[in-house]
Symmetry: C2
């Protein structure tokens, strides 16, 4: 059997989860509703068929020690960590991962996973991984389409085509769709033909490199140079700065999946959330009485549909409803849940007014 290589892409900044998520410690490195961080949960939920000895993490160089420490805590070892001098979206990172995988096994299959998602149905996640693996070995690069639970406007969508194989386990891809407006989202949702684009993929490394070579030859060239000229320091692989910075920025969807005719989407009903903003976190987590989600030292009286997260500061809440309250070492956010998308405007304001220390947060120490 082809070697299964798990690849975690950890480039997200998680701006909309400020003030918890900061430059020094973005969203994926925080525990949200559990003991492990989102990044650690991503490692922890890999099935045994994906040997974490072969794991590659692609990440921001500044977060390398945080990643090494969080990996060691969950895995008992530090995996290979490829360090990007600058973010170039997901496709160049996937090229690096494919080059890495090819060194282990020329027929390796890559499982590409974002580091900052919640997946609540572990068994079903393992089931859809196996569906995708079967498609990939038959020559169908696979993406995972989340079965939508609401007409969300915050996600891209994948329109399915004809069934591939039996049992509705995979479909051809008719089109990738940008984040829709409300009306379009409702059409998508009611049709039953659309999935949320999860940003997770499973495909043969070799096939991906040949697709990139065909559809994005400059990217292949630049990312290959960055890999070949990388400096290795223990488990850290410092991608060559000049080459990687010169690499075009693009997503796996745009650079490859949209341009090939034999990709498939695997419908995935796995309790997924991208935890993109505070209201999404509230929706994703188990609620206590009053539909509250409270984490940290909190005394709440008569609160309803609140999410309260404290890093350590004591928070008292009385008679408030539908609010988000976040207290960290450096800042406090109080917001109506319906305004959760506006956190990015607050962060932009802080940058514009030279209050960058509030965006960067304290130096991470774990």
């Amino acid at each position: 059997m082809a070697t299964l290589i798990p690849v975690i892409l950890s480039g997200g900044s998680g701006t909309r989860l400020w003030p918890l998520s900061t430059t020094h410690k973005p969203k994926q490195f925080h525990a949200l509703g559990g003991d492990l961080s989102l990044f650690q949960e991503t490692l922890d939920r890999l099935p045994e068929t994906f040997d974490t000895k072969n794991l590659l993490v692609v990440a921001n160089a500044k977060q390398r020690f945080l990643i090494a420490q969080q990996c060691e805590h969950v895995l008992g070892h530090v995996p290979a960590i490829a360090l990007e001098p600058q973010g170039r979206n997901t496709a160049p990172a996937a090229v690096v991962a494919a080059l890495y995988a090819r060194e282990i096994d020329p027929d390796a299959l890559l499982l590409i996973l974002p580091a900052d998602h919640l997946i609540r149905d572990l068994a079903e996640f393992h089931t859809v991984l196996e569906h995708a693996r079967k498609q990939a070995v038959q020559g169908h690069p696979a993406t995972f389409g989340i079965v939508p639970t609401a007409p969300e406007t915050g996600y891209g969508y994948i329109e399915k085509g004809a069934a591939v194989g039996e049992g509705g386990k995979a479909f051809g891809i008719k089109a990738f769709k940008e984040k829709p407006d409300q009306k379009t989202a409702e059409t998508y949702f009611s049709s039953g033909n659309f999935y949320w684009n999860s940003g997770m993929f499973l495909f043969p490394a070799k096939r991906f490199l040949s697709d990139i070579g065909e559809h994005a030859p400059e990217m292949l060239k630049a990312a290959t140079a960055a890999w070949q000229n990388a400096e290795r320091e223990h488990d850290f692989i410092w991608l060559d700065e000049k080459s990687f910075t010169a690499c075009p920025s693009d997503s796996i969807d745009y650079a490859v999946m949209e341009r090939i005719s034999d990709g498939v989407v695997v419908p995935s009903d796995i309790g997924w959330s991208d935890v993109g903003a505070w209201n999404a976190l509230w929706e994703a987590l188990d609620k206590s009485a009053g539909d509250n989600v409270h984490t940290g030292p909190i005394h709440a009286v008569d609160t309803e549909r609140t999410i309260i997260h404290s890093d350590g500061h004591f928070v008292a809440a009385v008679g408030v409803k539908d609010v988000v309250i976040v207290a960290t070492e450096h800042a406090v956010l109080v917001m109506d849940q319906s305004r959760a998308q506006e956190v990015k405007d607050v962060v932009a304001h802080l940058k514009d007014t030279d209050q960058l220390h509030l965006v960067d947060g304290p130096e991470a120490d774990d």
Copy 2:
């Protein structure tokens, strides 16, 4: 003219302004809407006829340095500060003040002021002080009745009797009334015959001592012993612990004003607030656009009728209305304005659950 002796009673704990107000630094020592603390504003608004060289502060012994420092900042000197080993309500403190005043001038008039009130109309305050002074020298112990602006249930009331002198500047006192229920408060308010009981008084020291001797002889005896056996250390007058602790606890209203027939109430329309709770503070202060009152490093987007107070922590607020947000070094409070009275329940909960450090707050350093 009889010497006018200002006396500041600083025994309040300001529990309902937690987490700003703490055991180590209660409400009166915080600046609320200005540069000076409520205590300092109380000193600062005294008219020149009240020489602050003769000032006496009666306070909790634990707060003596805070008081000394805040006095020096406003007055340029540290006044006499009588230290209570335990609170015994206002009447014993007034006995101590009367004994102190008698040493300066046997005919001295005492002006008794709580340390934790806001008064916005300085000119009118000085005017009513003069009305009260005239009554006091004619043998009428005077209290100040705040002209009510709403049927408040949170204050005691004074029912006025017949006019004393001309021009409606003073009235006899028909009755003192406890905090009423809503219906009763509305009756009081619409009648025009009731004032809020401010807890401010102006009377001759000698007369007060003779009234106390008649109506509360044990209190006179115990408080006199506490004064006579006090230990003096610089400006601090340590009232004798054994005597003062044995002193009955009572208010000036109950112990004297209710029991004499010639007391008067001076109607006072002076922009007064006792700032008893966060919503009272919101009502008392000038509001910015959106009817907000914001103090500290705050970024507010689309907030209405909010009071946000930060000691230094950055606070971002988005789309919230009618809330109180308070961020201090040790705790965060987020509360619907209508629930402002329940802060005392939060504080009680903290005491019950051995989280006294959150009630005490950090050690005061100014």
